[in-house]
């Protein structure tokens, strides 16, 4: 188990290095950074000065090494636009995105698995056919449409949930959270559903397929023959097996949720890092974009490693190999 985790960690570091290299290439190939840093109206002399100071005249690999060492120290440079350090700029907005994504994946997992199990038990019941059809509609519906429909229905027509913004927040340590106020939670509901809707449908279908397969396995017959209750057979013996691919999928999707949350953030004017990314792309603020990519990679990788560990815990065959 320990070697398994260490292996995963080493793999993670390698992937991060690769991502950083790509980021570095993006950084270098999108215009001369010396010009960007010195400003549009700088003289040739000033630009050369900047180039020297920041080591941009050094060979490629030395620059890359510098980029890495700086990155490890948390120094990603300054935003071209706001002229402030990039990392704090993003980190300030990260909690909003993370809370949104966590809520979305939580909703998707709980409802997806719950409904998936329900549907798998009586696949041909009318109600369950409706659920399946609904999930298919959901999968094919783009996020912005889901968002707008939800806003129209619950925010405008029924007027029971706030349609935009993050509501009141509280600072806990360095983390600005919306979980602790009623306003924060109600503001979270619509965007979280919007963001998680697609994954909900995917997890539902995956759970259903997995359960239907597992329920025909011999060991389920054994479980029934022992006299166990339906609860035990379904939720212990069957679901535990069906969950193995579902958990993996959830983990993979969580990274995706964070990376693609900007659409939802845009619709709901959510003050998260996704929105910041969009602005930065408009303004060609390379340091922000690169840092965002690096951070997203770091988060996604960490989650993947956690998922791998969870996978091993769920699946003894992996654990003991």
């Amino acid at each position: 188990m320990t070697t398994y985790i260490i292996k995963r960690l080493i793999q993670g570091v390698i992937v991060l290095l690769a991502v950083s290299f790509i980021c570095f290439l993006i950084f270098r190939s999108s215009g001369d950074p010396a010009i960007s840093m010195a400003g549009q109206y700088a003289t040739f002399q000033e630009i050369e000065e900047v180039r020297k100071v920041f080591g941009l005249d050094k060979p490629f690999y030395i620059q890359y090494a510098r980029f890495i060492t700086n990155a490890i120290k948390g120094n990603f440079g300054n935003s071209f636009v706001n002229k402030v350090p990039v990392l704090p700029l993003i980190l300030e907005r990260l909690p909003a995105t993370v809370e949104l994504a966590v809520s979305a994946i939580f909703i998707a997992f709980v409802l997806g698995v719950g409904l998936g199990v329900l549907v798998s038990l009586k696949p041909y019941a009318l109600r369950n056919r409706f659920i399946m059809a609904g999930s298919l509609v959901n999968i094919s519906m783009p996020t912005f449409l889901t968002g707008i429909l939800l806003i129209m229905l619950f925010g405008v027509y029924l007027n029971i949930l706030p349609p935009f913004g993050r509501g009141e927040t509280v600072i806990v340590g360095f983390w600005r959270t919306g979980f602790l106020t009623l306003s924060g939670v109600t503001h979270l509901i619509l965007p979280a559903f919007t963001l998680g809707m697609y994954q909900l449908a995917v997890l539902l279908r995956l759970t259903r397929a997995g359960m239907r397969e597992v329920l025909t396995e011999d060991y389920i017959k054994t479980a029934w023959s022992k006299g166990l209750s339906p609860m035990k057979v379904i939720f212990k013996h069957a679901l535990r097996n069906a969950l193995i691919p579902v958990v993996t999928m959830t983990g993979l999707q969580f990274g995706e949720l964070i990376a693609f949350s900007f659409v939802t953030e845009l619709i709901f004017q959510w003050p998260g890092s996704g929105n910041l990314l969009l602005t930065s792309i408009y303004e060609q603020d390379q340091p922000v974009i690169v840092t965002y990519i690096m951070l997203a990679a770091l988060i996604i990788l960490s989650i993947n490693i956690l998922v791998d560990i969870l996978y091993a815990i769920l699946n003894p065959k992996i654990r003991y190999d």
Partner: protein
């Protein structure tokens, strides 16, 4: 053993499967009984309905496509077919338990064997976790698994096929059931292990005094350990009787065919053990059975009447019944 009150009595059982191809009468009017502590052999070619018969007894038939359409299954003055799930669960595993053919897939891969065995004690004996765990270790000891304290923490994939089948036996016998249904418990194992498992079961049977329904293709094993034999063909019982009668004086042409390539009673030789597929012709599809005797297309002794009319099960001796026109009149 001539009591008219049996431990288990299956009467006119019909279990059908409703599929796209039509209705498969997997079990078609089967009656059988089991007495306390006896070993009953159930034989017949693949697909003749042995497993469906066995699984119907504790109602494990997947529904849909399957359905028990008729019959009674009396056990301890209770018709198991009339119970709701909650009542039925008190019988399953506790008083009637089952071992399946595939030891590789019959245990849940994500739980330790200790977890899976101790579940039985917690459920039926209302023991707590710790007591159940200790009982599970004892159960493993009883099926001669070495180092049970260590094995109990292992997962099924860490055990060999033979070991897993021992675990299944330990689990099935854990609550001292009155009936153990063993559905081809050794078919998936290699020959030496097969012998060990059969010996183990017979040995345990003495200790536990359970009646065993042994489903198998291996007539050698039946000859050695069963008191009575039931021969099934295409969903029906075609012959039943004491093992001695069946082996020495088989009446039904199908039984005779089965026995032709099998060693004599008591001579269990591994080399000569043959499978049942060696009768000429193929098992009829259950979807397109003929009007008369279903063995008719393959029967070397067929009479004209056999084509038109289904023969009835007729008593021809003590415990000996056969369903064939050669032994009954219209």
């Amino acid at each position: 053993m001539t009591n008219d009150h049996h431990l288990l009595e299956v009467d006119h059982l019909k279990t059908y499967f409703y599929t796209f191809e039509g209705v498969a009468k997997a079990v078609d009017d089967v009656s059988l009984f089991m007495d306390e502590g006896e070993t009953l052999g159930l034989v017949g070619e693949s697909g003749c309905g042995k497993s469906v018969t066995a699984q119907s007894i504790i109602r494990l038939i997947p529904e849909p496509p399957g359905k028990i359409v008729q019959g009674t299954i009396n056990f301890d003055n209770t018709n198991l077919l009339e119970l709701d799930l909650k009542q039925l669960r008190k019988f399953r595993g506790n008083r009637i338990s089952m071992i399946f053919q595939e030891p590789m897939t019959s245990l849940n891969p994500v739980f330790t064997i200790g977890n899976q065995i101790s579940e039985m004690f917690m459920l039926h004996k209302k023991l707590n976790k710790k007591e159940s765990w200790e009982r599970a270790i004892e159960a493993l000891k009883a099926v001669q698994i070495p180092a049970p304290e260590k094995r109990i923490n292992e997962y099924p994939h860490q055990l060999s096929g033979g070991m897993r089948q021992r675990v299944m036996i330990a689990m099935a016998l854990s609550c001292d059931p009155e009936i153990l249904i063993a559905d081809e418990p050794t078919t998936a194992l290699d020959v030496t292990i097969q012998a060990q498992i059969i010996d183990l079961m017979m040995h345990l049977k003495e200790d536990f005094n359970a009646a065993i329904m042994l489903i198998t293709h291996d007539l050698g094993v039946i000859a050695e350990i069963a008191q009575r034999v039931i021969v099934m063909y295409a969903g029906k019982v075609v012959e039943e009787g004491k093992t001695k009668d069946i082996f020495e004086e088989p009446k039904h042409p199908y039984t005779k065919g089965l026995l032709q390539s099998v060693p004599k009673l008591g001579e269990r030789s591994r080399k000569e053990r043959k499978k049942l597929e060696e009768i000429k012709g193929i098992v009829p599809s259950l979807y397109e059975l003929t009007a008369g005797c279903s063995f008719f297309p393959r029967c070397p002794e067929a009479l004209p009447i056999c084509r038109e009319h289904i023969p009835k099960l007729t008593t021809i001796g003590e415990f000996h019944k056969v369903s064939c026109w050669l032994y009954s009149d219209l």
